[in-house]
Subunit: 302 residues, 2 copies
């Protein structure tokens, strides 16, 4: 932090996920104490893919590792905010014994998870960290580190956001362990998969599709091109929309003139937020199944 | 439009207010027919002050005149979209006879209003266009063309958005004429003024204030500086937040750690959208009354 601030001029922006609001305030005070100007972003940040670079001259982004597929062009510090508690997996040990298990977790738990994984290995449990960079990390939109072929997949994260994504990606059950409550459960993708396949089938009946892309790390030009090609091969008319940030209201606006939408900026929005809109809103992998008119090709997220 | 597109390269962005969605689609088709790539903005546009310049290489912005206090740095065409109907003021003529009346209207009605004003003048009614650039135009955040000292103020616009703003700015009643329904009514600012003054009084009890600024034409750095100075003179601790776009959720987030907020990006948000939040959200002019602890200084919007 000190070395990042040294020599900086102008205004430093501090942005944070909603849960790190208090930490953002403290970081801003720290910056001001060093004689620099600080501005807070009033936008909650949901990932390192979206840094609003217009808000200042340098950025301190709290709580996420750098996004592997994009780098901000302004000087940016990704400041880890590890949870101070300890991830205690003892409750789940007997469930994993005698099986090969692959483990994924989020930025704030990674260090603590590494430690407990080492302990379990020393006790003879066959657990490994997922093959991401850094190893063990899962993102809401990237589960490719969860290689197939393991007996169990263990997702360590608050809530079910990441375990749900992982189970849809793998099309099988995963174990969700919440380090805050120390509760665990098996997450079965099939109830949700059924709903998603229904949306996909519904979209197949349509003719016009809006492809909604974003900016910065949520601008996926190559993916957009590929989807345009797939759409036209499948006989669909595609139109491109872009937005710095999406809300339900904006998506409802777009849906007024097409039969369904694909969101390329953030593939979690269709799954988590827009499932109850009147027309289907799909993630890129889901849209591919529509364009090829083949439910068997269903994939999430890409 | 033709001459704007000539020689353009890359991607043209079309952005529009929610009511011109259909026109935006037609404009996009027109652009594509001329061999250019077109992308629609998925953000509804509420004014010429906010053009999201990251979405493409040139911008066609529908329905607003250029914002007088800011110009986009990318090549931008502000395309008027006049309402095709006629503004018919005959119902209101007897109300205006024998009085000096100043008239303000919105971009889509300006040409038609000029015509009907000329007709009324020829019939001996003393009506004049407000002193804005172009003459006769009012913006949701700019009523300075409505000079004081007239007997009546006539605001010609759909709904009551502009007449409400004008009445609060003037602190007196105005006549709101809706060209769509051809209905008119007197808008009295006092019921709303009472609610706003209550918010202002409540904010005076606080100590910490968030000043929330925006980007592009909604970035008002000099105003922010002036408010910081006013706040510190009044014994308030101010913190700066910035956001490309605000939603109620984001504002509620900010309010978690301060006693009240001032929105400098768009002074209509406090009035029209955030009046029901638990803590006061104020326009810049309202905040000045707080910082100087003097209700008499109440002004809207700046």
């Amino acid at each position: 932090m000190e070395s990042f601030l040294r020599g900086l001029k102008g205004r430093v922006v501090v942005e944070s996920p909603p849960g790190l609001w208090r930490e953002a305030k403290a970081v801003c005070s720290f910056i001001e104490e060093r004689g620099l100007e600080c501005v807070r972003s009033a936008m909650p940040s949901f990932g390192a893919c979206l840094v609003f670079q217009d808000l200042g001259d340098a950025i301190v982004h709290l709580g996420h590792y750098p996004y592997p597929w994009w780098k901000p062009s302004k000087k940016t510090l990704f400041l880890p905010c590890p949870w101070k508690g300890e991830v205690r997996l003892h409750k789940i040990k007997s469930e994993l014994e005698g099986k090969r298990t692959l483990v994924g977790t989020t930025a704030q738990h990674l260090e603590s998870v590494k430690k407990v994984i080492d302990e379990m290995k020393a006790e003879g449990v066959n657990v490994e960290l997922s093959f991401s960079t850094p190893r063990g990390l899962v993102l809401g939109c990237d589960y490719t580190g969860l290689r197939r072929g393991y007996d169990e997949y263990l997702i360590i994260a608050g809530g079910k956001f990441h375990s749900l994504g992982a189970s849809l990606y793998l099309k099988r059950d995963v174990i969700a362990f919440d380090p805050y409550s120390e509760r665990w459960e098996r997450v079965n993708p099939y109830p949700i998969l059924k709903r998603r396949l229904w949306k996909v089938s519904e979209a197949m009946e349509g003719r016009e599709v809006a492809i909604i892309d974003g900016i910065e790390g949520q601008s996926r030009e190559n993916l957009v091109k590929a989807l345009f090609l797939e759409a036209s091969r499948g006989g669909f008319k595609a139109r491109l929309f872009k937005a710095p940030i999406l809300t339900k209201e904006f998506v409802a606006n777009v849906l007024e003139e097409v039969d369904f939408a694909v969101i390329t900026s953030c593939p979690r929005l269709p799954l988590d937020d827009y499932g109850d809109l009147e027309k289907p809103v799909l993630a890129p992998g889901e849209a591919r199944a529509v364009f090829r008119r083949n439910l068997e090709l269903y994939s999430f997220p890409f």
